[in-house]
Amino acid sequence: MSPPGPSVALSGVTKSYPGGTVAVDDVSVEIAGGSFVALVGSSGSGKSTLLKTINRLIEPSAGSITIDGQAIDVEDRFRLRRRIGYVFQNIGLFPLPHMTVAENVAIGLRLEGEKNPRARVAELLGLVDLPADVAARMPDALSGGQRQRVGVARALATEPRLLLMDEPFGALDPVTRDQLGGAIRALHDRLGLTTIMVTHDMAEALLLADRVLVMEKGRIVSDAAPRALLAGEGGAAAQALVAVPREQMKRLGALESGA
């Protein structure tokens, strides 16, 4: 087991736009090294915006962020992003005419000047349970699930210690979602990463994360462990989200017992 991933601390992070819209409103939170944190909220709650301030895809209007105690704006943002694994929403890959799966996986290595990443690509594809022969294919020849696995392999290529995921399973069917979620949690544990995942699906958050942050209108309104949430803690907003899968489960149970 590798040493745990870095801790991340956000302090008073705010993102407001010229029109007066406030996407993230004075968020302060500390994320322990090695933890798997889910950011849950409805669309427009500011969860994606908050995630993107960590790798500086979005610059906050106010507040500061540190990774392992070091402010993220001391080094240039391209370096920072290459150190942080990032799995994008939906597509996740470059649909470029000349970029194969292997080239997609190796893009981070290429940016760092690595000339011959072939062996590393094979290793990464193995890590996400893809057969080696997908390396030569084009991204559009893969299924949605395979594509997102390639996205994870690409994010892990530069051996980041921190992994950010923005709705990584958004476009996948439920079976694939479940498989991939399990695979990512296993990777997180095996590699000892710090993982922050944005999702709108509370059930997914409860099943995968160690800690669930609920966002509403740019603020964190709940911060609790899955077990605590299921026990009814975490406040009204969180409980409203937990109620949905709980209710579904009840109805399924009722169906099963034939009532």
Binding site: L57, F94, G108
Partner: protein, 509 residues
Amino acid sequence: MTDFLDALTRVPDLLAQHLLLAMSALVLGIILSLPLAVWSARVPSVGRIVLGFASLIQTIPSLALLALFYPILLSLSTLVGGGIPALGFLPSLLALTLYALLPILRNGVTGLAGIDPAVIEAADGVGMTAWQKLRLVEAPLVAPVLMAGIRTAAVWTIGAATLSTTVGQPSLGDMIFAGLQTQNWALVLAGCTAAAGLALAVDALLGVIERGIARRKRLGAWIAFGLLALGVMVALLPMLPARQETVTIGAKGFSEQYILARMIGHRLEAAGYRVRYKEGLGSGVMFAALTSSDVDVAVDYTGTIWTNEMKRTDTPPRDAMLAAIRSWQEKQGLNLLGRMGFENAYAFAMRGDRAKALGIASLDDLVAKAPDLQFGADLEFLERPEWKAVRAAYPIRFGSAHAYNPTFMYRALESGQADVISAFSSDGRIAADRLTVLNDPRGAIPNYDAILIIAPHYAKDAQMIAALKPLIGRVPVEAMREANYMVDRDVGKVSPDAAARWLEKRVGL
């Protein structure tokens, strides 16, 4: 058919020049457009200005755009103390380059704007710098759209390059303009076919490159690119040997000028000079080209210089006018070698039967009848000071006035579409068509002796003066008319070059 095959022999040389001009403009256009397209896509306000400017240029007719560069370059050259050629390759290149900008820019900007923002965010997310993003993500995604724009630009440029003839840059347009002028349809057809063939061939090769880029068939793209490069190389070949100095002979856009230019050319070639022709030039353009040595030798007319260049409105006797012009030109370093021996004055001509029926013999008679008559003028005449001078002396108001290419002007007179035309006194068609030339009892039209002028660069070149001196006073108006008619007539016409040979024999050179 043999006419057409004859005409085709002129194609290779002009095709090479045409290809070089169009490709240079295209390459320069690409070099300018690409950074502009990126800048425009990044900064929307820049994009609006750049695309607006490029669209504005497209609304200027290509012929006008070419013509505009002449005064611009001329004044620029004066500003920096000379040295910038205002005719020929440079103005053509600049005008065509501007023309090539729009399709490349527009497709580049549209292509960049059309890239899925998620892809750009992905590029940012993996830590690409702006340059890496452009090179690794945006360029490959935009390439097919951009190539389509480059193809459009190539076809436009090759088409518009035919017009560079008018500013003295040899191109396939030389054949089209000369053929139109002398009604040599085989020449026009050969020129058009060659220009269209060139455009199709370049478009097809660029199409192969485009598909190669889109479908990752790099070999095909490289082969097509190689063929294009080879074509340009072959076109460049004639320029390789150390070029001996070439004398440029200018000609305005009518048969007499084409014939005399060839006659001068034959003399100079016999004296060991290399010559080339800049044909189809406008009056003002040709004179300015002479003073700036863009054209080295040309035949002009005393009246044209007197009214157009010296801005004089009086009409002194022949010898006094020539002496005044000579001393005026000497100040500009030009050498007025002398009169050719014939006059080509503006003359008002009517069909003989019609003039008789209406009882018109002079411009005075015309005054009363003009409101019921249609006037057909050559392309310049209605703007010329001579027309002003005539109207000042005779209050003529025509029912309508239309400008024609000289050849079509005679057709209009013949068919009755025009009743009176602005003819030239040395024109062979006056005698052949039995036209009546109206008298000028008030002496409003100045004298138009053909004169041979040498540009400052060769003004004191004894060898050239010796080669051209025998032409002075040598060409009587009857001989000139006959030679002109050989080129202008509908049946059994000959090329200006052949007419020049005939004229040389006729006057004993």
